[in-house]
Each structure stands twice: as structure tokens, then as C-alpha cells.
């Protein structure tokens, strides 16, 4: 069992307009144990307030699978915030 004080480092990827708002394509961040994707997004929305308005029109992925915002993160997870897809 990880102790409460232990932090986990995750990789975060930004695409589309999120990449333009944040001005970065990827980041590495230490999170408190038991942090979920919602709290990870909140962290970036505090740093880049323009991101907040897009929260309801995003999905999240963890390790390249679409995943709910309540997913708890683990060390070395790769998280991405994905705008509506428009391939084709």
C-alpha cells in the first residue's frame, strides 16, 4: 500500500487547441497519491485558466485508452486530454 505522503509522477499530453492554450505538448508532474484525472485537469486549469471552459467538451485517456475522469493515477501513467476528434 502506498503511503498517503507518497507522490506519483505522471506524463501529461495536450492536443489541438489545448496544446495552443497551454503552450506545451507534454508535461511531467508529481501528484499526490490517489489523485484522479479530474484533479490533474484542475491543476492545469488553475495554471492556464482558459482551459477551464473546455472541460465539458473533453475526454481523457490513460495509457492510450479512453477513461473516466474519476480514474486514479499511478506512477508512470500517460494521461491525455482530448478535444472532440475530427479525423477523416
Amino acid at each position: 500500500m502506498p503511503s498517503v505522503s507518497q507522490s506519483v509522477r505522471v506524463k501529461v499530453l495536450f492536443f489541438g487547441r489545448l496544446k495552443e492554450i497551454a503552450g506545451l505538448t507534454q508535461d511531467s508532474i508529481d501528484l499526490p497519491a490517489e489523485a484522479d484525472i479530474e484533479s490533474l485537469f484542475a491543476h492545469y486549469a488553475n495554471r492556464y485558466p482558459q482551459l477551464r471552459q473546455y472541460r465539458s467538451s473533453l475526454v481523457a485517456s490513460c495509457n492510450q485508452e479512453f477513461t473516466p475522469w474519476t480514474t486514479v493515477l499511478h506512477a508512470d501513467d500517460e494521461v491525455a486530454f482530448l478535444p472532440p476528434v475530427s479525423g477523416g
Binding site: V59, S61, F66
Partner: protein, 157 residues
């Protein structure tokens, strides 16, 4: 039936070669190939488009395309699949996505090809930015369905 390993699924940064892809899926036991060739239109909502730029979450996009191809084999009586999406800057008229499905009979090929492009547009993490004379916008898209929290299985790291 061919194994999915004989399919072609890829993301490319150079022009797509439709002739080679159609030839790849064509087999002697087939009676039909259905092709979807998606290419860049010169306008978007009545604005003149100059060019498009596509970007992708590449490893995930490729995995999702491969999932679609595998699903086609499970769901439809088909032979081979080629599914290729191009990334980067594309000019008017250039092919952005090309899907070819071969099958002994046409109905399965039509159904599978339709399913493939519809599912790609809804679930594959690729984004399109449209450039106009007076600026650029990210194209409206679709939000992929996400498994519910109760049914989600945490993927292995």
C-alpha cells in the same frame, strides 16, 4: 479468411498511394472491394479553405485504427482491410483518409467500409485545423464514447 496481420493500418506524413492499397486487399477469392477515399474540400461552411493540418495522438490513434480493423474481421465476412490516415499539411483535393475493404461479396464490403469510416471519425484521436484567408479554426468534432467508471478496467501501465 485472411488474418488481420495481412491488413495495412497506418498513419503517414506523405501522400497516400491508393493504387497500392487497393491492390494489397484484392484477392482471388474476392468479388468486390469497397473504397472510401476522403479528401480535402475547398470550403467549410461557405468559407474558402486554403489547406488543412491534421495532428494525432499517434500511438493511440494507430491502436484505435487497428482495433477497428480487427473488429471488421469479427463482424463482417471480409477478406482484407487497408486503413490509412495522413497527418500534417494537406492541400485541397489531397486524400486524408483511405479505407479499402475486400470481400467475396459486396454487401459485407460496403457494410464494413461504412462502419470503418464512421467509427474512425468518432473514436480515433486525430484533429483537423482548417486554414482560411482570414484565420484558422479547429474543426468541430465528436466526443468519443468513454467507458463508465464502474465498468472501466484500469489499463496496464
Amino acid at each position: 479468411m485472411a488474418t488481420p496481420s495481412s491488413d495495412i493500418t497506418k498513419l503517414v506524413h506523405e501522400p497516400i498511394d491508393p493504387v497500392a492499397l487497393a491492390a494489397h486487399v484484392r484477392g482471388n477469392a474476392d468479388g468486390a472491394i469497397v473504397i472510401f477515399d476522403g479528401f480535402v474540400r475547398d470550403r467549410s461552411k461557405n468559407r474558402r479553405t486554403l489547406y488543412l493540418e491534421y495532428e494525432a495522438y499517434e500511438p493511440m490513434a494507430l491502436a484505435k485504427i487497428q482495433e477497428i480493423a480487427a473488429h471488421l474481421h469479427n463482424q463482417f465476412s471480409i477478406h482484407r482491410v487497408a486503413m490509412v490516415h495522413r497527418l500534417g499539411r494537406l492541400e485541397i483535393g489531397e486524400t486524408s483518409v483511405y479505407i479499402a475493404v475486400s470481400a467475396p461479396h459486396r454487401a459485407a464490403a460496403f457494410d464494413a467500409c461504412r462502419y470503418a469510416i464512421d467509427t474512425l471519425k468518432r473514436t480515433v484521436p486525430i484533429w483537423k485545423k482548417e486554414y482560411f484567408e482570414d484565420g484558422s479554426v479547429w474543426a468541430d468534432g465528436e466526443l468519443p464514447p468513454v467507458p463508465s467508471a464502474t465498468s472501466a478496467v484500469k489499463p496496464a501501465s
